[in-house]
Symmetry: C2
Amino acid sequence: MIALNHTHDPAARSWLASANVPGCDFPIQNLPIAVFRHFRENEAFRGGIAIGDQVIDLARVVVVGCLEGRAAEAALAGAYHNLNVLMGLGPDAWQALRHGLFALLQEGAEGPKVDALRTCLIPQVAVEYNVPAQIGDYTDFYTSVHHSANIGKILRGDNGTDPVLPNFRWIPVGYHGRVSSIGVSGQEFRRPLGQSLPAGATEPVFGPCKRLDYELELGIYVGPGNDLGNAIRLADAEAHIFGICLLNDWSARDIQAWEYMPLGPFLSKNFATTVSPWIVSMEALAPYRQAWVRPETDPQPLPYLNDASNNAAGALDIQLEVAIDTPQRRAAGANPVRVSQTSFRHQYWTAAQMLAHHTVGGCNLQPGDLLGTGTISGPTPAEAGALIELTKGGREPITLSGPGAPDEQRSFLEDGDTVIIRGWCEKPGAARIGFGECRGTVLPARDNT
Amino acid sequence: MIALNHTHDPAARSWLASANVPGCDFPIQNLPIAVFRHFRENEAFRGGIAIGDQVIDLARVVVVGCLEGRAAEAALAGAYHNLNVLMGLGPDAWQALRHGLFALLQEGAEGPKVDALRTCLIPQVAVEYNVPAQIGDYTDFYTSVHHSANIGKILRGDNGTDPVLPNFRWIPVGYHGRVSSIGVSGQEFRRPLGQSLPAGATEPVFGPCKRLDYELELGIYVGPGNDLGNAIRLADAEAHIFGICLLNDWSARDIQAWEYMPLGPFLSKNFATTVSPWIVSMEALAPYRQAWVRPETDPQPLPYLNDASNNAAGALDIQLEVAIDTPQRRAAGANPVRVSQTSFRHQYWTAAQMLAHHTVGGCNLQPGDLLGTGTISGPTPAEAGALIELTKGGREPITLSGPGAPDEQRSFLEDGDTVIIRGWCEKPGAARIGFGECRGTVLPARDNT
């Protein structure tokens, strides 16, 4: 695990004023990476680092030569149209790039290299983003015990028995998802069509999804991979994590309920998955590590999922919120309404445990692979990461209430709704860092069968 | 659907004698494609077409210029290190390549282009193969009603009720699989480790899989894809199918039983999947089409899975067999033992229905995507496509009996076992064509946790 160092100093400031604004997602302590290009210009995508309201163009960083050694090598790898090469280089390269840019961006830094770096800045308002990696495989986990319990009560009733399935407390449960339909924040997608079984019916019907939902998740990008048959040990797992993004695992609940036996979700998930453009590094997240504590009444993990380092600091206090914007609110110029807020620190399994479990049977990971954490729901009802939980299976609609537009109710998502996920880390004694946002919009179904 | 034409004439012969040998998998009527290079030489992989005991090197076909027009374009696309570009070109390009090569290979063909083609032949014994596409997503279906019934009886007992789950007869059930661990015939893989729940236990144990199985499947490579949100109609689906290969979906039954709720198989499947190198085109398979008939007592499919063309000729009579070789048999110089034989014609859903269902919710397919059919089991017990069915859940071991070595018993696969899948089409009035073989070997587990 990465130790705290000068790049985490909460007093550090940049000569770029926008990076020092309180509440800014991208201060000098963060330096997340994305793939971007100028908006509406047909130029090549390449890697960029966020600072304040600017993007540092890594392709131009290479051209102007403002970094040296391993940091310059990392910038070159990051100048490609996806980040897979940089992801494969490993933590020393990622750290060299972070520390090299930190030195040039710090308040008081000057000289020809700083002057050169100033020419690499592009305003974020002038750029668009792409999915930052060629994702070879996308795996979605299911690692929030609160989500699992909420869903269990909805599906099987709240009858006093444990609503969590027997394997949940032993296995970071996961399954393979769809790569081709992963899009970057701003993604618009058609409401899916599919089969569902109406309540009480014996035969399914076909049509647009009636129970369209979001799932609040984080995404974990794999750095260096492993060979087939050669598991990644839990103690080594973090060195294989490039960084973390926001992720929305859109879900069609009615389609899922009918199709999922016995092989899991398929059409109910594969129509769209949205990721944030910015990937926050494990080094930037170091101040927000916490002990990973399992309730004493729960079984302790099997040895391959249990080590001291993970227990001491495997959890991450990443604060998360979900807001919904609606056509009515947009038309009225009103802001989106926040519907839940929670933290990743409540998750039952850590990112490192997910990687260790994923590979323990021999499965090989590759640079750029994406792991979703599964829905992140906290311990209280208001911390639920999906509408199906907030509305008790659709039976108790939530009210979207905020200034500027009349109240609206939602059981599930309606056409035109936009879901916005935001994430950040904040605590006394550490710099606040943010993930930006992950935004996606539901378009009406189109039936061309 | 592709009409029968002169390339299907069973009387057609090649000037290459090995292509005319009775029982040969690769006569002039077949012309399947693979990605290959000289064995043990560090040269680039590229596409090749099988004829008799030779491979036609498409890179050399381009250099010597023995094809023209669309066929030459297709050969150029096929000369790349994977077939994705050729797959994306579509049926007219695939047909042009087939018909162009057929004309040059036919008995009696002569002239400078035929002479040039002779220089493109490389003996199959001198080459090795690779996975033929960069597979963006791999989907595995579950479309044999006999497999579903066999498994249902093993898991839920043979108690007179329908062992098939309610959604099976309505949905070509599928889920997303692992791309990174797909290997080509000859693949050797470590026995997976994982958690399983011993019978009667309340806590899982960790260790090497004790119920390792194969699954006899076919693989379907996608040609041109579809845009997100724009479903492929059933009537158009076959134009999106590049071709069909053999596939072994290795399965760890004990790991699967403990992990699969509620999101499906994960570590029980993602340690290895093996495909045959050769892909047989839909045009080559045209003589083996059959009516797709659903039992009258079963529900008729929903409209998006129902059209006249699919009903008339959507099924394919591809004969399949599984053989097992063991360390003892290898040491004795004895042949592998066949353990089952069946045909894809018994499958409950067709390849076209799988594509139509996959995309009906909006999911986008891309050239090179791979769809597994799910285990192919026929109506009789000897036609089962997995050991778990042949051995009734491991309770009734099968005997491997054949000349040259003592009998052995198997409940599940043992270390060193090799599973060999073969496929072919044969009937009066049509040329026999084959798929070659799909071979994989189990290595002992390696626990490096």
